[in-house]
Amino acid sequence: MSEFDAIVVGAGPAGASAAIRLASSKKNVLLVEKSDPPGSKNVSGGVLWGNGLSAIIPDWEKSAPVERFVDTKSVAFLTQDSKIGIDFSSKKLEQKKTGYTVLRARLDQWLARKAKEAGAMVINGITVEKLHIENGKVTGIEQDGDVITSDTVILCEGANPRVAINSGLRKPLTDHDVAIGVKEVIKLPENTINERFHLKSGAGFACEYVLGYLKGGVEAGGFLYTNKDSISVGIVVSMSHLRKNDATHTYDMIEEFTAHPYIAPLLQGGEMQEYSAHMVQEGGFSSIPKLYGNGYMIAGDSAGFSFSNGLVLQGMNYAIDSGIAAADTFAAAYDKKNFTENALKSYQDRLEGSYVMKDMRSFKGIGDVTWSPFVHKKIPAMLESLMMGLFMEEGRPKKHMTRMLLDALSQNDMLRVSSLMDAYRMMRRM
């Protein structure tokens, strides 16, 4: 007889969602978190996209510690001197809120509280070392020689899944699987943010940047999100690209970004409140491990569920929905009192049937495109020369726009077959 029906390792969005779902259906669930309070070791950009939480916490938006709803979403290329971007602001985003900026130390603590309120036992400050495995079946967790038993363990450890790796359920991470995220939270008065970003009270700005100008030619992405009275700003650089250009320090790269002529004014006068960093799961479909086995399931970042196509960065939505899928799988297995690999296989089916695995599959290989010189060097340079061509007035006869585009393409070496293939690949994978 196990002490718990299920143990969930990690109280981030995946683990808390799983625990809330399980506790809501009267399962005896233990949620174990290494940090105290929950969330105090967690970092994300972060915009929480989607409405996945409504399945477990109706009206979550009213009580969750969200910062602002995103009503302006932008993407931009940055070169040394220029910013070329697209802004999308819409009343529609106010009516149908699709993304909220969040700070994880606040959000995750609230989620853990919700799990407790739903009836889960939540313990903080306990580091699970490995899984307890008997006769090939996971039967609990181990910490300092102590064993706590359960019928199933749901692993939601985040981007650095030590327990899964230590227990042999996931291969150690490689360059291909991860990127490094480095972030700063800059304090600014709420009104200053509203004025600077042209935002109504409560509304927020979220932008992803392609950084094509960093020292050493490192390809990295940037992000800037407005919180209520602070700005989250940071970079994401893939491990393999940093390695190829191993002349830059990650802690300097973020400074290169925040010093850019069109980023610095947005942060001007602000006071740095926090510096943070975390690995980011970047490998996409090919980084996903086996998701279930005898007595266990893996959800959230630990399972490699995060997504970036250069236009958005997403992960918390997949975490929430995979956590819920794991909980529902457990509930079905519980009814049959069968927690074998075969019984938990329906976790995979649930994910395959949802947008989680569909997104992972349809954007397979996107990393080759988003981390390519084509996207980071050629496109920004081409757009810059096109814009300069379009808006320069030198008292000379103007060219037609098509001619200018062709000139910009050829100046930047983009009319070659290899570039056309790059463009084709990008269109296909995005």
């Binding site: 290494k34 940090s35 105290d36 969330g39 105090s40 070791k41 967690n42 970092v43 994300s44 700070l103 994880r104 130390a105 606040r106 995750d108 903080n124 400050g125 306990i126 580091t127 070392e129 300092d144 981007a159 650095n160 030590r162 150690p172 991470l173 490689t174 360059d175 699987d177 991860v178 490094i180 995220g181 480095v182 700063e184 939270v185 602070s230 989250s232 491990m239 940093l242 390695r243 191993d246 002349a247 830059t248 320090h249 990650t250 802690y251 300097d252 400074e255 740095m272 409140q273 926090e274 510096y275 943070s276 960093a277 975390h278 690995m279």
Partner: protein, 90 residues
């Protein structure tokens, strides 16, 4: 802002009796790249007179170094008992 000043903004509950990350000095000594010094965002890995110096006290537990080190020198574990980094915002 210098990285040292940025790190000084952070709260840690340092575990003086347990280093959650360790490196193998004999491997680091012959390492040809010292890529950890570039990848670690918390400047825990530095070269002092050509010799690798590692301090776990400033670690923000991002997990980068264990992947960055291609020479199997880094052993990475989670801090115990809520020790380590304590973010206010995250």
């Amino acid at each position: 802002m210098k990285i040292e000043d940025r790190l000084s903004l952070l709260n840690y509950k340092t575990d003086k009796s347990y280093a959650h990350i360790t490196v193998k000095p004999d491997i680091c000594e012959t390492c040809p790249d010292h890529f950890c010094t570039f990848a670690c965002p918390a400047k825990c890995y530095t070269l002092i007179e050509g010799k690798l110096n590692f301090k776990y006290e400033d670690c923000v537990e991002c997990g980068t170094c264990v992947v960055a080190c291609a020479h199997d020198s880094v052993t990475w574990t989670n801090p115990k008992g809520a020790h380590g980094i304590k973010y206010k915002f995250g």
